[in-house]
Amino acid sequence: MSQASLPKSALGRLLYRFAPALFFIVLIALWELVCQVGNVPNYILPAPSAIVSAFFDVEISRWLTHLWATLRVALMGFALSILIAIPLSIGMIRSELLNRTLYPALIVIQSTPVVAVAPLIIVLLGTDDPSRVLITCLITFFPLVVSTTTGMLETPPEMIELSQSLRAPRYRETWQIRIPYAIPHIFSGLRVSITLAIIGAVVAEFVAAEKGLGYFIQFSTSFFKIPQAFAGLIFLAAISLLLFKSVQWIQMYFFPWSLPKKK
């Protein structure tokens, strides 16, 4: 705090501002160089230039279709897992019995590889969105449960006493004290979950899909179009970054007090 955390000179500030971009550019340049000089074949690691040209081999409308398919499933799965995880966490905080009973079940669900239960899911829910959303949700919800329960349990006892002394209904203790207190924890969980949601959507597309970036990548790979698969990867990474940032923006905008104080 006593030392200024921002560099002073204009050049320094510029460098600081664009450091991430610069870092990526340097990384990509290096990658290109390694591929060119080392003569790395495409099927091991395609050069960025090859990826870019592969990118243009696919019509933009196809890209958008795939992109949207994945994004849709990821977002629906993410939303579903929030809808499941938060009430579940609240239930487990409020009832030790529920906690002791459900937690093991959740761990079991979390550690079950999707492929193993894919037939079950598909037979029950078909090959369409419901299956994919469920798979995404299965992969996504656990970090949310863990961080929400941890955060709510960490609520300082004196705040709980304040609530008890007011004889407020339990649900208000939860919503007006424990949940706000847990916000930093919850957002930490959301940040992990949102990236898992993308992974979940991709896995779901491995199990059942005709489109989507995961499908596209696997498809390209199975036809040995590796640069094209990497182009798909880049989109995937871009969505992840965007969604991650969105979660941060939401926290910044709606819960500014939950952010660490900057001095």
Binding site: P41, P119, V123, A209, E210, T221, F223, F224
Partner: protein, 305 residues
Amino acid sequence: DKVTFQLDWLPGGDKAPVYVGIQEGFFEALDLDVSIASGRGSTDALTKMATGQSDIGSSDIGALMAAKAQDDVPVVAVLPYFTQAPHAFFALKSSGIDSIEKLDGKKVATSPFTSSNAFLPLVLKENGLSDSDIKLVKSDPGALGPMMITGNTDAIIAWVTNTALFTSQAAEAGKEIVELPWSSAGLSLYSSSLLASERFLEERPDVAKRFIKAYKKSIEFTYSYPDKAGEALHNIVPEVDAGIAAAQIKSITNLVYNDVTEKDGFGQFEQTRLMQTWDYVAEANALSTDALDPKDAVNLNYLPD
């Protein structure tokens, strides 16, 4: 001499020869010490051979051609294994589907990333149908059988290597299945073959020759004595049921030994059929036929005399 053999999938009846070779001592007799690595699809197998993780292995020649057309993959086919396409439709007997034409307007399930999907339009065309005549859904390979048996779908697309498995699965539910192999519906091409990395061939030509010789012998043994072959597989991979493996082997014998091998003899890539295979692959993968001279995808110099 150490040789690493690459499977393109998990061990199973169709992969029996290499296990037979080990169990029956065919490799040992030629001073070969073979270890086996399982794979996860033909691309995975190709990549592992191309990068030198393994020396030689079995994979689809169509995948190799597609790969070679797009990338200079240093892998070549050295011995055909399946001389017919293993792709097929399966349906319940009760569904009344007994020919490909009857699939008109039906729901067909396939796994998302099988090479069958690329050949599907060709087979449909051969039988007077088009893509839009069937309703195709994609789902996890493990779910296909259950989907068909529960009536979730009218038919499925799978490899005939799985016929035995589907049959027993259906039997459990008291049902029977029919198999409509694409090879008898106009799709005539080479399929699973023995591939080898070019580096392996160049650096250890002698080892390669010996291996191919032993492997060929193993294939012959496998299909002559399927039960023994099943045993051999089970001995090395205890998770595999000897009986099921034997049943698998029996059910795919005609992929290995058929009118093609009768005509050309086993172990030969016949030029026109190779060309034809490439034409199919090119069309299926939307590649230009000029992208590859199919002769470059094979190397017959290491065949035993």
